[in-house]
């Protein structure tokens, strides 16, 4: 098995998990104007909800559904009780970033206080190993990639062909104008929180299935990868987030094959900085 080919395979798996999270994050940001740094912490909470369901004797896929529902509710409540009041008061964007950072710490440490600081694993088999032309995947990893592709397809259909998707795009582009055209922006925003919250729960559970063993702080670095993917692809652009996730996922794993793996995240950020220097709007963002 060539190391390059193997690392491309690893990159595809990482990209698959990252894409779900990055797309949800960027949609949330685009429509709600909130750079929600608590996103990764909510992912972790979702992963632990799925764990609790799994430990009660249910398959992890049932836990995944529970995680999606719980994270959807948590995200809606987060907006209703925390972010929306600050936005109504006209708080500066940087204030909201700090608030979301505070919420990230509250959610992460709250999760740790409830479940403890040790790492846990789902009770599930990773399935058999499948070789695909030099690439090696387990059955579960193939399922994760299939789920990711389905989510990308769902988001594409939602944004392109549904009224809600069009309303989300309109609200993201210009909230005041969208309101003037009769779009109920507050309802669109609440729905966006619910939808992206569900995707956040999905991303968290899938992330935990992929890594095998996780604890309340497992997604700390993953948030940085999400931000890198979002801004590489163009902030607020769902298709950009998908592309950004692919680039970041492949870059981190392929670079780890040839330089010390400690530096794989550094490589991803160097790429991001280089891209922002050349094209600040990101790969698919509009040129300014």
């Amino acid at each position: 098995m060539s190391l390059l080919l193997a690392s491309v395979g690893f990159g595809l798996i990482t990209s698959a998990v990252l894409a779900i999270a990055a797309v949800a994050f960027t949609l949330q940001f685009a429509v709600t104007d909130v750079l929600n740094l608590a996103f990764a912490a909510v992912m972790t909470a979702g992963a632990f909800i799925a764990y609790l369901v799994n430990q009660s004797g249910y398959p992890v896929w049932a836990g995944l559904v529970a995680a999606m529902a719980a994270c959807s509710l948590l995200s809606v409540l987060l907006n209703y009780f925390v972010y929306a009041p600050f936005q109504r008061r006209g708080s500066a964007p940087i204030t909201l970033v700090i608030v979301s950072l505070g919420m990230a710490l509250i959610v992460e440490f709250g999760t740790a206080a409830i479940v403890g600081g040790i790492s846990v694993s789902y009770s599930m088999s990773q399935g058999s190993t499948v070789g695909l032309g030099g690439l090696v995947f387990t059955t579960v990893q193939l399922v994760i990639m299939a789920v990711s592709v389905l989510v990308m397809g769902f988001v594409h259909v939602l944004l392109r062909y549904t009224r809600l998707g069009k309303a989300m795009r309109a609200t993201a582009a210009n909230r005041m104008l969208a309101r003037s055209c009769g779009i109920r922006a507050s309802r669109v925003i609440a729905t966006t929180w619910a939808l992206t919250g569900a995707l956040c729960g999905l991303a968290g559970t899938v992330f935990a299935i992929d890594v095998g063993s996780f604890d309340p702080s497992s997604t700390d670095i993953f948030l940085i990868l999400i931000l890198a993917a979002v801004f590489l692809g163009g902030p607020g652009n769902a298709y950009g987030a998908m592309l950004g996730a692919l680039v970041i996922g492949l870059a981190t794993e392929v670079s780890a094959a040839y330089i010390q793996p400690d530096y794989k995240y550094v490589v991803a950020f160097v790429l991001l900085l280089a891209m922002l220097a050349v094209r600040p709007a990101g790969l698919l963002g509009a040129r300014t």
């Binding site: 095998g212 063993s213 793996p261």
Partner: protein, 473 residues
């Protein structure tokens, strides 16, 4: 990304501002600056005074007071990670602390004082550990003893604890403590390089020739690497891969692929938290579903570690392919019975310590050796007849190393009974005989541990001092 700032260029007013206005405006500015400067100076002075006062209070506050008030409760503090990658360690030590203090209290306490445990979560990071310890000393009354202080934080907290004149029994194997004198520092575990040598002896004993290293990038794990490389070379084995695992990373597939590609006979590893279970699962996936044999450190002897790895690669596979070095501990006899009895008395009552097979704590090095350390400290206080650390500290080495004519005791209760009869005592607990050197180190001797499929620790052999010397560079 963010809305552009609402700062708009101010409309230019009339550009012929009166000169008089400008002069008075400048004068006003100077006056304002003088006032501001004065106020600023006052503020700085006040702040400096407060900082000085705070520092003075911090230096004076907390730590062990000359003698605890009659009837007050003495505190033993577990200073260790309770969160972060090494979160499994704090609860292990807390089980030992709760069990030991419970047994001490049942035997009448220390000079009429009850003993209780408290904790300080270092998160396994020096930057978090120092404030945690500072907070401990600022808030804890009658703090007599600190236990724990692992390699993750020892370098930063040992000087602080020493400055507060508080005795500590630490679980760090860092070689910087081998020959540096901290008067209040005691260690009942060997230096890390001795564990690296022990792991190499295990590899030799099991007939492995090609070795891969996979250690976490934390301080505690990295101290094993260089001694392991040297010992592997001395033993005539071949180092085929050396991967450092970023404990903040969530997958190690590339590292796993490099290890598998090197075709090692065995992997020496320590990467606590979720890192090792994740790595081992990924290695198994990439190695045609076959686990490569693993040699771990004594930190791998914990129910949490077994549980995570068993889930990751399967209990049968893990049990069949895992060995670790561990310090020799008693598995029978009065000391062992007293130790296991004290731990079993708190089974299910210690937060974070309800995972897996509880009997694993009976051989977990932290549980065993800190139990001995706490008993030594408690007996030292009784022998000195005082909770004043200046008076009881010297008794630690006396009771640990023994003196001619000393009666051997194996528990706190036994020791107190002998002291009441006026006898000299030597405490030998489940960790074996103590032999403190000038630096308060007592290294112990090694055994080889493995797990049963049910997660119980099985002793697979012992390592002699001669075997260790043979691989020492």
């Amino acid at each position: 990304m963010f809305e552009s700032s609402d700062l708009a260029a101010q409309a230019a007013g009339p550009c012929h501002a009166p000169i008089r206005y400008a002069r008075s405006h400048r004068a006003g500015q100077r006056h304002w600056l003088r006032l501001t400067g004065q106020r600023r100076w006052l503020r700085l002075t006040r702040t400096a005074a407060m900082l000085t006062l705070t520092a003075a209070l911090a230096a004076c506050g907390g730590g062990s007071s000359p003698s605890a008030a009659a009837g007050s409760t003495l505190l033993f503090a577990d200073v260790a990670p309770f969160s972060g990658p090494d979160a499994a360690l704090g609860p292990i030590y807390l089980v030992s602390c709760d069990g030991t203090t419970n047994a001490i209290n049942k035997a009448g306490g220390i000079l009429g004082h009850k003993v209780a445990c408290t904790t300080a979560d270092t998160r396994g990071e020096p930057a978090d550990a120092v404030p945690a310890v500072g907070n401990l000393f600022a808030t804890a009354k009658n703090l007599e003893l600190v236990i724990g202080c692992t390699s993750d934080e020892a370098a930063s907290v040992v000087p602080v604890i020493n400055q507060h004149k508080t005795v500590m029994f630490c679980m760090t194997g860092q070689s910087e403590f081998d020959h540096v004198m901290y008067p209040y520092f005691y260690r009942l575990v060997p230096p890390d390089l001795a564990e690296s040598y022990a792991m190499t002896v295990i590899a030799q004993r099991l007939g492995y020739h090609k070795i891969a290293l996979a250690f976490g990038n934390d301080i505690g794990s990295q101290t094993f690497v260089q001694p392991a490389i040297a010992a592997i070379a001395k033993a005539g084995l071949t180092l085929v891969a050396n991967e450092t695992l970023d404990l903040n990373a969530t997958t190690f597939r590339t590292e796993a692929a490099k290890i598998v590609a090197a075709h090692p006979d065995a992997i020496m590893t320590e990467a606590l938290g979720s890192a090792d279970p994740t790595l081992l699962a990924e290695i198994k996936q990439l190695n045609n579903n076959k686990m490569i044999p693993v040699i771990g450190t004594s930190a791998a002897i914990s129910p949490v570690f077994y549980s995570a790895c068993a889930k990751a690669v399967g209990a049968a596979d893990f049990a069949a392919n895992f060995h670790a070095d561990n310090l020799v501990t008693a598995t029978s006899g009065p000391a062992y019975d007293a130790f296991t009895g004290s731990l079993l008395a708190v089974k299910g009552k210690v937060s974070g310590a309800q995972t897996g097979d509880f009997t694993t704590y009976f051989t977990a090095p932290g549980a065993v050796h800190l139990y001995d350390g706490m008993n030594l400290a408690a007996l030292a206080m009784v022998a000195a007849g005082s909770t004043d650390v200046a008076k009881w500290k010297p008794w630690i080495a006396t009771i640990g190393n023994g003196v001619p004519g000393a009666v051997v005791v194996s528990s706190f209760a036994e020791g107190v009974a002998a002291l009441k009869k006026g006898e000299k005592i030597r405490y030998i607990g489940p960790g074996g005989p103590t032999s403190f050197d000038a630096y308060h180190d007592s290294p112990g001797i090694f055994q080889i541990d493995t797990y049963s499929t049910a997660g119980a620790v099985v002793v697979a052999g012992n390592i002699s001092a001669a075997e260790l010397r043979a691989v020492s560079p």
